[in-house]
């Protein structure tokens, strides 16, 4: 009897601890899942102006300050104030066009709306959230930009090393006031937070549009649409490869054909709800012959979180912030 009693007690204690940590709810009855659900809903509705600080701790380490205007999915504007190399740059998105003005380079980069993509992927987040793909915990309360906030932690709901994202969410308006990316080793990789925020009824729609000033060259970025992989395979014009290995929790989100040098390349996108991975494929004729010659010698790491290699006449590149070991495993499984 005694032998049976102890294991049962242990199991009960562990179960209580797990439930307690995952489903912590504060005295006001709010739990982590409710905060996340409300935060996702506020993403498409909240209207505000704010001063934001962003810090990158890894890769190119730097800090930036910006003025941010946001009107849900209808508009976004970011005006860079610091560092001096970015001062004067403006990003505007009116839900149709994404424009980035870089006065120093006398360029206005124009491309498809990122807000529209955000809106499209909101369903993906909701589905993942409902299906339990995300592990959400409420860590407590804090105060950011003179406002009360709930602190939640979100990570993919599967075992293994993965980055964690922490959000400080306004307890009245449900807007995320601070975001932190924490690596598998516990170090903070990046953070963004508002120092001041003013909720308003309306922001002039002109704020979300940039008319190219005189002397500024407009550079159009290619348009693309996301489709199922099977559809893209039919129209790609070359054999599209897929990995047999993906990091735990990662699933294909879709694929796109991207115009490039009067030709096109294919990108297949994967996500585990928190991190993203893009697999690019281009036929040999599209790339610089000297780069192709280099790829013949073996894989290349052309930048942080990037890995390029060549196989059977197709040139491939993976871009992701997951570990390089995992990127290599995915690359080795592509057939």
């Amino acid at each position: 009897m005694k032998r049976l009693f102890f294991p049962i007690t242990k199991v009960l204690i562990i179960a209580c601890l797990i439930c307690g940590s995952n489903a912590l709810s504060l005295a006001d009855g709010v739990d982590g899942r409710t905060v996340l659900k409300n935060m996702l809903e506020a993403e498409g509705k909240a209207v505000f102006a704010a001063h934001q600080v962003t810090t990158l701790a890894r890769g190119p380490a730097m800090t930036s300050e910006q003025t941010v205007y946001r009107a849900g999915f209808k508009g976004m504007r970011i005006e860079y104030l610091e560092p001096p190399a970015l001062k004067g740059e403006v990003i505007a998105d009116d839900g149709h066009v994404y424009a980035h003005l870089i006065p120093r380079e006398k360029v206005l980069r124009v491309g498809p709306s990122r807000l529209k993509m955000l809106q499209t992927r909101m369903n993906e987040a909701h589905t993942g959230f409902k299906q339990g793909a995300l592990d959400v915990s409420l860590l407590g309360k804090d105060r950011i930009a003179s406002r009360d906030a709930y602190v939640i932690q979100v990570k993919p709901n599967h075992p293994g090393k993965h980055p964690i994202r922490k959000f400080w969410v306004d307890s009245a308006k449900w807007v995320k006031l601070r975001t932190e990316d924490v690596g598998p080793d516990g170090t903070v990789l990046s953070m963004s937070y508002y120092t001041k925020i003013s909720f308003v009824d309306r922001i002039d729609p002109d704020k979300f549009h940039i008319e190219p000033p005189r002397g500024i060259r407009v550079v159009k970025q290619p348009e693309w649409k996301t489709a199922p992989i099977s559809e893209i395979k039919k129209i790609a014009g070359f054999e599209v490869l897929e990995p047999t290995y993906l990091p735990k929790g990662f699933k294909a989100v879709g694929a796109s054909l991207i115009p490039f040098r009067r030709n096109r390349m294919v990108v297949i996108r994967y996500s585990d709800g928190v991190s993203s991975l893009s697999l690019f494929q281009a036929p040999g004729r599209v790339l610089d012959p000297k780069f192709l010659a280099r790829l013949h010698e073996g894989p290349v790491k052309p930048g942080q979180g990037m890995y390029s290699w060549k196989t059977d006449g197709v040139n491939l590149t993976i871009v992701s912030q997951i570990s390089m070991d995992e990127i290599r495993k995915v690359a080795a499984s592509v057939k």
């Binding site: 709800g273 928190v274 690019f280």
Partner: protein
């Protein structure tokens, strides 16, 4: 780590005398900064070339010869001013040019070292130029930047992403070492 910080440690990094933490910080910066990566490659290839030069052995009896000369000179001239030393060196240099070319045993060590140094400097300049040319042409930057931009748009469209950090990282990559 940024470009300025890296410049402090670049020599130690090339010589592999840094702690593993600092080295991994540098490696993560190098993977993101093509300019610094190029500089490190240049230094590494120069250092490799210098190390690969074959060692010149001194002729038999060279050391004994030098020691005995020092002993003789120190006995005859117990104190020497700097000027006298320079004069001696110039004199020995002049003497060395009078000796036959293949009479290396009598050529002062400094002349051999100077010649070697010139060879290394000229050689490394040639190698650096070669590396610079090849590293500029080896990566298809237009392709790589398109991949990076495309991934950034996809990643920033994740409702759970830190959009501001992704946008800043994108610009930081564009600017490279200009920040």
């Amino acid at each position: 780590m940024n470009c300025k910080e890296l410049s402090k440690y670049i020599g130690d990094y090339v010589n592999k005398t840094l702690s593993s933490d600092l080295a991994s910080d540098i490696e993560s910066h190098l993977s993101a900064c093509p300019k610094c990566a190029k500089l490190v490659r240049e230094l590494q290839s120069t250092s490799l070339m210098v190390r690969s030069l074959s060692r010149l052995g001194a002729p038999a009896g060279f050391a004994e010869n030098v020691r005995s000369r020092i002993a003789i000179q120190s006995e005859s001239k117990p104190t020497c001013t700097s000027w006298e030393l320079i004069k001696q060196w110039l004199h020995s240099l002049r003497e060395s040019f009078r000796t036959p070319v293949f009479g290396l045993a009598r050529v002062p060590r400094l002349v051999v070292v100077s010649l070697l140094l010139c060879l290394v400097v000229v050689g490394s300049m040639l190698v650096v130029n070669q590396v610079r040319y090849s590293s500029e042409t080896v990566i298809d930057w237009a392709y790589i930047e398109t991949c990076r931009d495309q991934h950034a748009s996809f990643a920033s469209a994740n409702p759970l992403a830190d959009n501001a950090a992704i946008l800043l990282r994108e610009r930081a990559h564009d600017l490279g070492g200009k920040m």
